[in-house]
Amino acid sequence: MLIFRHEDGGKIASPEQMQIWMKQTMDWIGGIAAQNKFTVGNGLPFDDSRVVWHNNVVTNGPFGDIKETIGGYIIVKAESVEEAVEFAKGCPVLQGDGNSVEVRKIARGDGTH
Protein backbone atom coordinates (compact mmCIF):
# COMPACT_ATOMS: atom_id res chain seq x y z
CA MET A 1 0.00 0.00 0.00
CA LEU A 2 1.29 3.45 -0.93
CA ILE A 3 0.00 6.10 1.45
CA PHE A 4 0.28 9.76 0.44
CA ARG A 5 0.99 12.32 3.14
CA HIS A 6 0.64 15.95 2.22
CA GLU A 7 -1.05 19.23 3.08
CA ASP A 8 -4.58 20.01 1.95
CA GLY A 9 -3.80 20.99 -1.65
CA GLY A 10 -6.99 23.02 -1.88
CA LYS A 11 -5.62 25.50 0.67
CA ILE A 12 -2.33 26.14 -1.06
CA ALA A 13 -3.06 25.91 -4.76
CA SER A 14 -5.42 27.26 -7.41
CA PRO A 15 -8.13 25.05 -8.92
CA GLU A 16 -6.08 25.01 -12.16
CA GLN A 17 -3.02 23.76 -10.29
CA MET A 18 -5.18 21.17 -8.53
CA GLN A 19 -6.40 19.97 -11.91
CA ILE A 20 -2.84 19.58 -13.18
CA TRP A 21 -1.89 17.53 -10.11
CA MET A 22 -5.00 15.44 -10.61
CA LYS A 23 -4.05 14.64 -14.21
CA GLN A 24 -0.48 13.82 -13.17
CA THR A 25 -1.81 11.46 -10.51
CA MET A 26 -4.15 9.79 -13.00
CA ASP A 27 -1.26 9.30 -15.44
CA TRP A 28 0.96 7.94 -12.67
CA ILE A 29 -1.66 5.41 -11.56
CA GLY A 30 -2.47 4.66 -15.22
CA GLY A 31 1.19 3.74 -15.73
CA ILE A 32 1.04 1.27 -12.83
CA ALA A 33 -2.30 -0.10 -14.07
CA ALA A 34 -0.81 -0.56 -17.56
CA GLN A 35 1.70 -2.96 -15.98
CA ASN A 36 -1.20 -4.87 -14.44
CA LYS A 37 0.07 -3.93 -10.97
CA PHE A 38 -2.75 -1.70 -9.75
CA THR A 39 -5.34 -3.10 -7.35
CA VAL A 40 -7.38 -0.27 -5.90
CA GLY A 41 -6.99 3.29 -4.72
CA ASN A 42 -8.86 6.20 -3.21
CA GLY A 43 -8.36 9.88 -2.71
CA LEU A 44 -9.31 11.05 0.77
CA PRO A 45 -10.66 14.64 0.52
CA PHE A 46 -9.75 16.94 3.38
CA ASP A 47 -13.01 18.81 3.68
CA ASP A 48 -15.55 17.79 6.24
CA SER A 49 -13.28 15.38 8.03
CA ARG A 50 -13.35 14.54 11.73
CA VAL A 51 -11.06 13.08 14.33
CA VAL A 52 -12.54 10.95 17.06
CA TRP A 53 -10.40 11.05 20.20
CA HIS A 54 -10.22 9.15 23.42
CA ASN A 55 -13.51 9.53 25.37
CA ASN A 56 -15.34 10.12 22.10
CA VAL A 57 -14.24 13.72 21.78
CA VAL A 58 -14.78 14.72 18.16
CA THR A 59 -12.81 17.53 16.51
CA ASN A 60 -12.77 19.06 13.06
CA GLY A 61 -9.94 18.15 10.80
CA PRO A 62 -7.71 15.14 10.89
CA PHE A 63 -4.59 17.10 11.85
CA GLY A 64 -2.79 16.91 15.11
CA ASP A 65 0.38 18.94 15.31
CA ILE A 66 1.45 18.01 11.80
CA LYS A 67 0.41 19.72 8.60
CA GLU A 68 0.84 16.68 6.35
CA THR A 69 -1.71 13.96 6.77
CA ILE A 70 -3.15 11.14 4.71
CA GLY A 71 -4.54 12.44 1.43
CA GLY A 72 -5.07 9.14 -0.31
CA TYR A 73 -3.69 5.70 -0.96
CA ILE A 74 -3.33 3.11 -3.64
CA ILE A 75 -2.79 -0.62 -3.35
CA VAL A 76 -0.42 -2.16 -5.87
CA LYS A 77 0.71 -5.67 -6.71
CA ALA A 78 4.48 -5.54 -6.25
CA GLU A 79 6.99 -8.40 -6.25
CA SER A 80 9.03 -6.73 -3.53
CA VAL A 81 9.16 -3.65 -1.36
CA GLU A 82 11.84 -2.30 -3.73
CA GLU A 83 9.45 -2.48 -6.66
CA ALA A 84 6.77 -0.67 -4.65
CA VAL A 85 9.35 1.99 -3.74
CA GLU A 86 10.09 2.46 -7.45
CA PHE A 87 6.37 3.05 -8.06
CA ALA A 88 6.27 5.50 -5.14
CA LYS A 89 9.17 7.52 -6.57
CA GLY A 90 6.97 8.49 -9.51
CA CYS A 91 4.14 9.80 -7.33
CA PRO A 92 3.27 13.45 -8.17
CA VAL A 93 2.65 14.14 -4.47
CA LEU A 94 6.42 14.14 -3.98
CA GLN A 95 6.73 17.45 -5.87
CA GLY A 96 5.63 19.17 -2.66
CA ASP A 97 8.22 20.01 -0.04
CA GLY A 98 7.72 17.90 3.06
CA ASN A 99 5.28 15.52 1.36
CA SER A 100 5.89 11.79 1.50
CA VAL A 101 4.67 8.45 0.26
CA GLU A 102 4.70 5.71 2.83
CA VAL A 103 5.15 2.15 1.51
CA ARG A 104 3.56 -0.53 3.68
CA LYS A 105 2.83 -4.21 3.28
CA ILE A 106 -0.73 -5.36 3.77
CA ALA A 107 -1.19 -8.12 6.32
CA ARG A 108 -2.60 -11.23 4.68
CA GLY A 109 -5.06 -11.80 7.49
CA ASP A 110 -4.06 -15.45 7.82
CA GLY A 111 -2.85 -15.01 11.39
CA THR A 112 0.82 -15.11 10.41
CA HIS A 113 0.93 -12.08 8.02
Binding site: K23, G30, A33, A34, Q35
Partner: protein, 408 residues
Protein backbone atom coordinates in the same frame (compact mmCIF):
# COMPACT_ATOMS: atom_id res chain seq x y z
CA UNK B 1 -36.72 -12.42 -55.60
CA UNK B 2 -35.94 -15.74 -57.28
CA UNK B 3 -36.14 -18.96 -55.28
CA UNK B 4 -32.35 -19.42 -55.40
CA UNK B 5 -31.81 -16.05 -53.77
CA UNK B 6 -34.85 -16.05 -51.54
CA UNK B 7 -34.10 -19.28 -49.70
CA UNK B 8 -30.65 -18.26 -48.41
CA UNK B 9 -32.10 -14.90 -47.49
CA UNK B 10 -34.99 -16.45 -45.55
CA UNK B 11 -32.60 -18.93 -43.99
CA UNK B 12 -30.63 -15.99 -42.63
CA UNK B 13 -33.68 -14.29 -41.13
CA UNK B 14 -36.12 -17.11 -40.30
CA UNK B 15 -34.00 -20.10 -39.28
CA UNK B 16 -33.08 -18.50 -35.97
CA UNK B 17 -36.67 -17.46 -35.29
CA UNK B 18 -38.03 -20.96 -35.91
CA UNK B 19 -35.28 -22.51 -33.79
CA UNK B 20 -35.78 -20.06 -30.91
CA UNK B 21 -39.58 -20.46 -30.84
CA UNK B 22 -39.46 -24.28 -31.07
CA UNK B 23 -36.72 -24.46 -28.49
CA UNK B 24 -38.83 -22.34 -26.17
CA UNK B 25 -41.72 -24.78 -26.78
CA UNK B 26 -39.73 -28.00 -26.28
CA UNK B 27 -37.33 -26.82 -23.58
CA UNK B 28 -33.56 -26.55 -23.77
CA UNK B 29 -33.14 -30.33 -23.39
CA UNK B 30 -34.52 -30.72 -26.91
CA UNK B 31 -32.47 -27.97 -28.52
CA UNK B 32 -31.28 -30.34 -31.25
CA UNK B 33 -34.79 -31.35 -32.22
CA UNK B 34 -35.64 -27.67 -32.65
CA UNK B 35 -32.59 -27.22 -34.87
CA UNK B 36 -33.42 -30.36 -36.86
CA UNK B 37 -37.00 -29.26 -37.47
CA UNK B 38 -35.84 -25.81 -38.59
CA UNK B 39 -33.32 -27.41 -40.98
CA UNK B 40 -35.88 -29.90 -42.32
CA UNK B 41 -38.30 -27.04 -42.92
CA UNK B 42 -35.80 -25.33 -45.18
CA UNK B 43 -35.00 -28.60 -46.91
CA UNK B 44 -38.71 -29.01 -47.63
CA UNK B 45 -38.82 -25.43 -48.96
CA UNK B 46 -35.96 -26.09 -51.37
CA UNK B 47 -37.66 -29.25 -52.69
CA UNK B 48 -41.19 -27.91 -52.91
CA UNK B 49 -40.55 -24.38 -54.14
CA UNK B 50 -38.25 -25.31 -56.98
CA UNK B 51 -40.86 -27.81 -58.15
CA UNK B 52 -44.12 -25.98 -57.50
CA UNK B 53 -42.94 -22.39 -57.50
CA UNK B 54 -43.01 -19.90 -54.66
CA UNK B 55 -45.99 -19.88 -52.29
CA UNK B 56 -47.81 -16.54 -51.90
CA UNK B 57 -46.36 -15.93 -48.46
CA UNK B 58 -43.05 -17.82 -48.12
CA UNK B 59 -42.48 -16.92 -44.45
CA UNK B 60 -45.96 -18.08 -43.42
CA UNK B 61 -45.35 -21.26 -45.43
CA UNK B 62 -42.18 -21.93 -43.45
CA UNK B 63 -43.93 -21.36 -40.13
CA UNK B 64 -46.80 -23.67 -41.12
CA UNK B 65 -44.44 -26.44 -42.21
CA UNK B 66 -42.35 -26.04 -39.07
CA UNK B 67 -45.49 -26.26 -36.98
CA UNK B 68 -46.61 -29.49 -38.71
CA UNK B 69 -43.19 -31.00 -38.29
CA UNK B 70 -43.21 -30.06 -34.62
CA UNK B 71 -46.65 -31.63 -34.26
CA UNK B 72 -45.52 -34.83 -36.03
CA UNK B 73 -42.51 -34.99 -33.83
CA UNK B 74 -44.60 -34.71 -30.68
CA UNK B 75 -46.98 -37.39 -31.97
CA UNK B 76 -44.11 -39.78 -32.67
CA UNK B 77 -42.58 -38.92 -29.37
CA UNK B 78 -45.80 -39.70 -27.54
CA UNK B 79 -46.30 -43.00 -29.44
CA UNK B 80 -42.79 -44.01 -28.51
CA UNK B 81 -43.43 -43.01 -24.94
CA UNK B 82 -46.69 -44.92 -24.84
CA UNK B 83 -45.11 -48.09 -26.13
CA UNK B 84 -42.15 -47.93 -23.89
CA UNK B 85 -44.00 -46.73 -20.86
CA UNK B 86 -47.02 -48.85 -21.70
CA UNK B 87 -49.48 -46.22 -20.78
CA UNK B 88 -52.16 -44.30 -22.60
CA UNK B 89 -51.14 -40.81 -23.38
CA UNK B 90 -53.28 -38.14 -21.93
CA UNK B 91 -51.61 -35.61 -24.13
CA UNK B 92 -53.12 -36.73 -27.45
CA UNK B 93 -55.69 -33.99 -27.46
CA UNK B 94 -53.02 -31.50 -26.52
CA UNK B 95 -50.87 -32.48 -29.45
CA UNK B 96 -53.63 -32.27 -32.03
CA UNK B 97 -54.53 -28.83 -30.77
CA UNK B 98 -51.02 -27.52 -30.43
CA UNK B 99 -50.73 -23.91 -31.44
CA UNK B 100 -47.40 -22.29 -32.05
CA UNK B 101 -47.19 -18.58 -31.47
CA UNK B 102 -45.38 -17.01 -34.44
CA UNK B 103 -46.22 -13.44 -33.48
CA UNK B 104 -43.38 -10.97 -33.80
CA UNK B 105 -43.52 -10.30 -30.08
CA UNK B 106 -43.20 -13.97 -29.19
CA UNK B 107 -40.39 -14.50 -31.68
CA UNK B 108 -38.41 -11.60 -30.19
CA UNK B 109 -39.01 -12.76 -26.63
CA UNK B 110 -38.02 -16.32 -27.51
CA UNK B 111 -34.78 -15.09 -29.06
CA UNK B 112 -33.97 -12.93 -26.04
CA UNK B 113 -34.74 -15.75 -23.64
CA UNK B 114 -32.56 -18.09 -25.71
CA UNK B 115 -29.81 -15.49 -25.50
CA UNK B 116 -30.00 -15.61 -21.70
CA UNK B 117 -30.05 -19.42 -21.74
CA UNK B 118 -27.06 -19.64 -24.08
CA UNK B 119 -25.08 -17.09 -22.06
CA UNK B 120 -25.50 -19.14 -18.90
CA UNK B 121 -22.25 -19.21 -16.92
CA UNK B 122 -22.18 -23.04 -16.88
CA UNK B 123 -20.73 -23.01 -20.40
CA UNK B 124 -17.51 -21.36 -21.57
CA UNK B 125 -17.50 -17.98 -23.33
CA UNK B 126 -16.30 -19.64 -26.55
CA UNK B 127 -19.21 -22.06 -26.46
CA UNK B 128 -21.62 -19.24 -25.70
CA UNK B 129 -20.47 -17.38 -28.81
CA UNK B 130 -20.58 -20.55 -30.89
CA UNK B 131 -24.11 -21.39 -29.80
CA UNK B 132 -25.28 -17.81 -30.29
CA UNK B 133 -23.91 -17.91 -33.84
CA UNK B 134 -25.56 -21.25 -34.55
CA UNK B 135 -28.93 -20.86 -32.85
CA UNK B 136 -29.53 -17.12 -32.88
CA UNK B 137 -27.66 -16.02 -35.99
CA UNK B 138 -28.21 -19.09 -38.17
CA UNK B 139 -24.52 -19.46 -39.03
CA UNK B 140 -23.34 -22.69 -40.63
CA UNK B 141 -20.71 -24.83 -38.92
CA UNK B 142 -18.28 -23.89 -41.72
CA UNK B 143 -18.75 -20.20 -41.09
CA UNK B 144 -18.31 -20.60 -37.34
CA UNK B 145 -15.15 -22.65 -37.86
CA UNK B 146 -13.86 -19.95 -40.18
CA UNK B 147 -14.59 -17.20 -37.67
CA UNK B 148 -12.71 -19.04 -34.92
CA UNK B 149 -9.91 -20.03 -37.33
CA UNK B 150 -10.42 -23.68 -36.52
CA UNK B 151 -11.94 -26.80 -38.08
CA UNK B 152 -15.52 -28.09 -38.32
CA UNK B 153 -14.94 -31.12 -36.11
CA UNK B 154 -13.79 -29.01 -33.23
CA UNK B 155 -16.75 -26.66 -33.53
CA UNK B 156 -19.18 -29.59 -33.76
CA UNK B 157 -17.70 -31.13 -30.64
CA UNK B 158 -17.70 -27.83 -28.79
CA UNK B 159 -21.34 -27.10 -29.61
CA UNK B 160 -22.38 -30.65 -28.77
CA UNK B 161 -20.74 -30.47 -25.35
CA UNK B 162 -22.25 -27.07 -24.67
CA UNK B 163 -25.74 -28.35 -25.47
CA UNK B 164 -25.18 -31.40 -23.25
CA UNK B 165 -24.19 -29.09 -20.44
CA UNK B 166 -27.29 -26.90 -20.83
CA UNK B 167 -29.41 -30.06 -20.88
CA UNK B 168 -27.78 -31.51 -17.77
CA UNK B 169 -28.05 -28.25 -15.87
CA UNK B 170 -31.69 -27.87 -17.01
CA UNK B 171 -31.11 -24.23 -17.89
CA UNK B 172 -34.56 -22.69 -18.38
CA UNK B 173 -35.45 -20.61 -21.44
CA UNK B 174 -36.83 -17.57 -19.69
CA UNK B 175 -35.96 -14.10 -18.48
CA UNK B 176 -34.06 -14.22 -15.22
CA UNK B 177 -35.88 -12.78 -12.22
CA UNK B 178 -35.71 -9.05 -11.54
CA UNK B 179 -32.97 -9.44 -8.92
CA UNK B 180 -30.83 -11.67 -11.11
CA UNK B 181 -31.24 -9.86 -14.40
CA UNK B 182 -28.39 -7.38 -13.85
CA UNK B 183 -25.86 -10.09 -13.16
CA UNK B 184 -26.96 -12.25 -16.04
CA UNK B 185 -27.22 -9.28 -18.37
CA UNK B 186 -23.53 -8.55 -17.78
CA UNK B 187 -22.76 -12.05 -18.96
CA UNK B 188 -24.90 -11.56 -22.05
CA UNK B 189 -23.17 -8.23 -22.71
CA UNK B 190 -19.74 -9.88 -22.43
CA UNK B 191 -20.75 -12.54 -24.96
CA UNK B 192 -22.06 -9.94 -27.41
CA UNK B 193 -18.92 -7.85 -26.89
CA UNK B 194 -16.71 -10.87 -27.61
CA UNK B 195 -18.86 -11.79 -30.60
CA UNK B 196 -18.38 -8.30 -32.00
CA UNK B 197 -14.63 -8.41 -31.35
CA UNK B 198 -14.46 -11.80 -33.02
CA UNK B 199 -15.72 -10.09 -36.16
CA UNK B 200 -13.83 -6.83 -35.79
CA UNK B 201 -10.41 -8.25 -34.97
CA UNK B 202 -10.83 -11.61 -36.68
CA UNK B 203 -7.93 -12.84 -38.75
CA UNK B 204 -10.27 -14.81 -40.96
CA UNK B 205 -9.75 -14.02 -44.64
CA UNK B 206 -13.45 -13.96 -45.38
CA UNK B 207 -14.48 -10.32 -45.10
CA UNK B 208 -18.18 -11.17 -45.46
CA UNK B 209 -18.12 -13.50 -42.47
CA UNK B 210 -16.27 -10.91 -40.39
CA UNK B 211 -18.75 -8.20 -41.16
CA UNK B 212 -21.69 -10.53 -40.56
CA UNK B 213 -20.37 -11.36 -37.09
CA UNK B 214 -20.34 -7.66 -36.23
CA UNK B 215 -23.80 -7.08 -37.67
CA UNK B 216 -25.26 -10.04 -35.78
CA UNK B 217 -23.70 -8.84 -32.53
CA UNK B 218 -25.31 -5.45 -33.15
CA UNK B 219 -28.67 -6.98 -34.04
CA UNK B 220 -28.75 -8.99 -30.82
CA UNK B 221 -27.67 -5.98 -28.77
CA UNK B 222 -30.46 -4.00 -30.38
CA UNK B 223 -32.95 -6.69 -29.29
CA UNK B 224 -31.84 -6.00 -25.72
CA UNK B 225 -32.33 -2.27 -26.19
CA UNK B 226 -35.83 -2.73 -27.56
CA UNK B 227 -36.85 -4.71 -24.51
CA UNK B 228 -37.79 -2.58 -21.52
CA UNK B 229 -36.21 -4.90 -18.94
CA UNK B 230 -32.87 -5.09 -20.66
CA UNK B 231 -32.63 -1.56 -22.05
CA UNK B 232 -29.97 -0.51 -19.56
CA UNK B 233 -27.23 2.13 -19.72
CA UNK B 234 -24.38 -0.38 -20.10
CA UNK B 235 -26.19 -2.06 -23.02
CA UNK B 236 -26.64 1.32 -24.73
CA UNK B 237 -22.95 2.01 -24.15
CA UNK B 238 -22.10 -1.37 -25.69
CA UNK B 239 -24.26 -0.54 -28.71
CA UNK B 240 -22.58 2.88 -29.02
CA UNK B 241 -19.12 1.35 -29.05
CA UNK B 242 -20.18 -1.18 -31.69
CA UNK B 243 -21.57 1.66 -33.86
CA UNK B 244 -18.40 3.76 -33.54
CA UNK B 245 -16.09 0.85 -34.26
CA UNK B 246 -18.07 -0.47 -37.19
CA UNK B 247 -18.21 3.03 -38.69
CA UNK B 248 -14.55 2.49 -39.63
CA UNK B 249 -15.03 -1.04 -40.95
CA UNK B 250 -14.56 -0.14 -44.63
CA UNK B 251 -11.54 2.07 -43.95
CA UNK B 252 -9.52 -0.42 -41.90
CA UNK B 253 -8.38 -2.73 -44.66
CA UNK B 254 -7.39 -2.19 -48.26
CA UNK B 255 -8.56 -4.36 -51.16
CA UNK B 256 -5.78 -6.87 -50.41
CA UNK B 257 -7.00 -7.28 -46.84
CA UNK B 258 -4.01 -5.41 -45.42
CA UNK B 259 -4.56 -3.42 -42.27
CA UNK B 260 -4.62 0.36 -42.67
CA UNK B 261 -3.47 2.11 -39.51
CA UNK B 262 -5.80 4.62 -37.94
CA UNK B 263 -3.87 7.77 -38.87
CA UNK B 264 -3.59 6.62 -42.49
CA UNK B 265 -7.28 5.84 -42.94
CA UNK B 266 -9.40 7.67 -45.49
CA UNK B 267 -12.02 9.28 -43.31
CA UNK B 268 -14.35 9.61 -46.29
CA UNK B 269 -14.86 5.88 -45.89
CA UNK B 270 -16.01 6.29 -42.29
CA UNK B 271 -19.75 5.74 -42.02
CA UNK B 272 -21.36 8.98 -40.84
CA UNK B 273 -24.71 7.38 -40.14
CA UNK B 274 -23.20 4.80 -37.80
CA UNK B 275 -21.27 7.56 -36.03
CA UNK B 276 -24.43 9.54 -35.41
CA UNK B 277 -26.28 6.43 -34.23
CA UNK B 278 -23.37 5.75 -31.89
CA UNK B 279 -23.76 9.24 -30.43
CA UNK B 280 -27.46 8.61 -29.94
CA UNK B 281 -26.83 5.40 -27.97
CA UNK B 282 -23.99 6.99 -26.02
CA UNK B 283 -26.26 9.79 -24.86
CA UNK B 284 -28.89 7.18 -23.89
CA UNK B 285 -26.16 5.43 -21.92
CA UNK B 286 -25.51 8.55 -19.87
CA UNK B 287 -28.22 7.79 -17.31
CA UNK B 288 -27.97 6.05 -13.97
CA UNK B 289 -24.98 6.18 -11.68
CA UNK B 290 -22.94 3.25 -12.91
CA UNK B 291 -20.09 3.52 -15.37
CA UNK B 292 -19.29 0.31 -17.18
CA UNK B 293 -16.18 -0.45 -19.19
CA UNK B 294 -18.41 -0.14 -22.25
CA UNK B 295 -19.09 3.50 -21.35
CA UNK B 296 -15.37 4.18 -21.30
CA UNK B 297 -14.61 2.21 -24.43
CA UNK B 298 -17.47 3.91 -26.25
CA UNK B 299 -16.14 7.33 -25.19
CA UNK B 300 -12.68 6.42 -26.47
CA UNK B 301 -14.22 5.24 -29.72
CA UNK B 302 -16.18 8.48 -29.93
CA UNK B 303 -12.98 10.55 -29.72
CA UNK B 304 -11.51 8.40 -32.46
CA UNK B 305 -14.33 9.45 -34.78
CA UNK B 306 -12.77 12.93 -34.72
CA UNK B 307 -9.90 12.79 -37.12
CA UNK B 308 -8.12 16.05 -36.17
CA UNK B 309 -5.10 15.54 -33.87
CA UNK B 310 -5.95 18.11 -31.20
CA UNK B 311 -4.22 18.11 -27.79
CA UNK B 312 -7.64 17.95 -26.14
CA UNK B 313 -8.53 14.79 -28.01
CA UNK B 314 -5.44 12.88 -26.96
CA UNK B 315 -5.58 14.19 -23.39
CA UNK B 316 -9.15 12.88 -23.10
CA UNK B 317 -8.24 9.56 -24.72
CA UNK B 318 -5.29 9.13 -22.34
CA UNK B 319 -7.46 9.80 -19.28
CA UNK B 320 -10.11 7.38 -20.55
CA UNK B 321 -7.51 4.66 -21.03
CA UNK B 322 -6.21 5.34 -17.52
CA UNK B 323 -9.73 4.87 -16.21
CA UNK B 324 -10.31 1.74 -18.29
CA UNK B 325 -7.11 0.22 -16.89
CA UNK B 326 -8.09 0.99 -13.29
CA UNK B 327 -11.27 -0.98 -13.94
CA UNK B 328 -9.82 -3.90 -15.80
CA UNK B 329 -6.35 -4.62 -17.13
CA UNK B 330 -5.91 -5.78 -20.69
CA UNK B 331 -2.69 -5.82 -22.74
CA UNK B 332 -4.36 -4.07 -25.65
CA UNK B 333 -5.60 -1.24 -23.40
CA UNK B 334 -2.09 -0.93 -21.90
CA UNK B 335 -0.57 -0.60 -25.39
CA UNK B 336 -3.18 1.87 -26.58
CA UNK B 337 -2.75 3.94 -23.44
CA UNK B 338 0.97 4.14 -24.11
CA UNK B 339 0.30 5.31 -27.66
CA UNK B 340 -2.05 8.03 -26.35
CA UNK B 341 0.63 8.98 -23.81
CA UNK B 342 3.10 9.55 -26.66
CA UNK B 343 0.61 11.95 -28.24
CA UNK B 344 0.26 13.90 -24.99
CA UNK B 345 3.71 13.75 -23.39
CA UNK B 346 5.91 12.92 -26.35
CA UNK B 347 7.65 9.80 -27.62
CA UNK B 348 10.52 9.78 -25.12
CA UNK B 349 8.17 9.62 -22.13
CA UNK B 350 6.09 6.95 -23.87
CA UNK B 351 9.16 4.80 -24.61
CA UNK B 352 10.07 4.88 -20.93
CA UNK B 353 6.55 3.73 -20.01
CA UNK B 354 6.43 1.15 -22.81
CA UNK B 355 9.64 -0.51 -21.64
CA UNK B 356 7.93 -1.26 -18.32
CA UNK B 357 5.11 -3.20 -19.96
CA UNK B 358 5.89 -6.85 -19.69
CA UNK B 359 4.48 -7.91 -23.06
CA UNK B 360 7.41 -9.54 -24.76
CA UNK B 361 5.32 -12.17 -26.54
CA UNK B 362 2.93 -9.64 -28.02
CA UNK B 363 3.54 -8.53 -31.60
CA UNK B 364 1.63 -5.29 -31.03
CA UNK B 365 4.05 -4.45 -28.22
CA UNK B 366 7.03 -4.47 -30.59
CA UNK B 367 5.02 -2.74 -33.30
CA UNK B 368 4.28 0.04 -30.78
CA UNK B 369 7.97 0.33 -29.81
CA UNK B 370 8.84 0.41 -33.53
CA UNK B 371 6.39 3.25 -34.00
CA UNK B 372 7.67 5.17 -30.94
CA UNK B 373 11.34 4.88 -31.88
CA UNK B 374 10.63 6.10 -35.41
CA UNK B 375 12.58 9.35 -36.05
CA UNK B 376 14.18 9.06 -32.60
CA UNK B 377 16.33 6.01 -33.24
CA UNK B 378 15.52 4.42 -36.59
CA UNK B 379 17.83 1.49 -35.92
CA UNK B 380 15.92 0.57 -32.76
CA UNK B 381 12.67 1.21 -34.59
CA UNK B 382 13.64 -1.31 -37.29
CA UNK B 383 14.82 -3.83 -34.72
CA UNK B 384 11.48 -3.69 -32.93
CA UNK B 385 9.47 -3.99 -36.14
CA UNK B 386 11.54 -7.08 -36.98
CA UNK B 387 10.69 -8.61 -33.62
CA UNK B 388 7.01 -7.85 -34.31
CA UNK B 389 7.41 -9.51 -37.72
CA UNK B 390 8.78 -12.67 -36.12
CA UNK B 391 5.68 -12.86 -33.91
CA UNK B 392 3.16 -12.06 -36.67
CA UNK B 393 0.51 -14.73 -37.15
CA UNK B 394 -0.94 -14.09 -40.58
CA UNK B 395 0.26 -13.12 -44.03
CA UNK B 396 -1.58 -9.78 -43.93
CA UNK B 397 -0.02 -9.04 -40.55
CA UNK B 398 3.43 -9.64 -41.97
CA UNK B 399 2.69 -7.43 -44.97
CA UNK B 400 1.49 -4.60 -42.73
CA UNK B 401 4.64 -4.74 -40.58
CA UNK B 402 6.94 -5.20 -43.59
CA UNK B 403 5.53 -1.98 -45.03
CA UNK B 404 6.57 -0.13 -41.88
CA UNK B 405 10.10 -1.54 -42.14
CA UNK B 406 10.35 -0.59 -45.81
CA UNK B 407 9.40 2.98 -45.01
CA UNK B 408 12.31 3.41 -42.61
Amino acid sequence: METQQLIPHLFRTEYRKITAVLCKLFGIEHIEIAEDIASETFLAAVETWSYKGLPPNPTAWLYAVAKNKAKNHLTHYSIFNDKVAGRISEDDSLISEIEIDWSEHHITDSQLQMLFAICHPVISPESQIGLALRILCGFGIDEIADAFLTNKDLINKRLFRAKEKLRLEKVPIEFPGATEIDNRLQNVATTLYLLFNEGYYSESKDAVVRKDLCLEAMRLTYLLIENEQTNQPSINALMALMCFYSSRFEARKNENGEMILYHEQDENLWNAELISRGMHFLSNAATGDQISKYHIEASIAYWHTIKADTPEKWERILQLFNQLLYMEYSPIAALNRTYALSKVHGKAAAIEEAEKLDLKDNRFYFALLGELYKDIDNFKSKMNFHRALALAKTQTDRQTIQKQIDKL
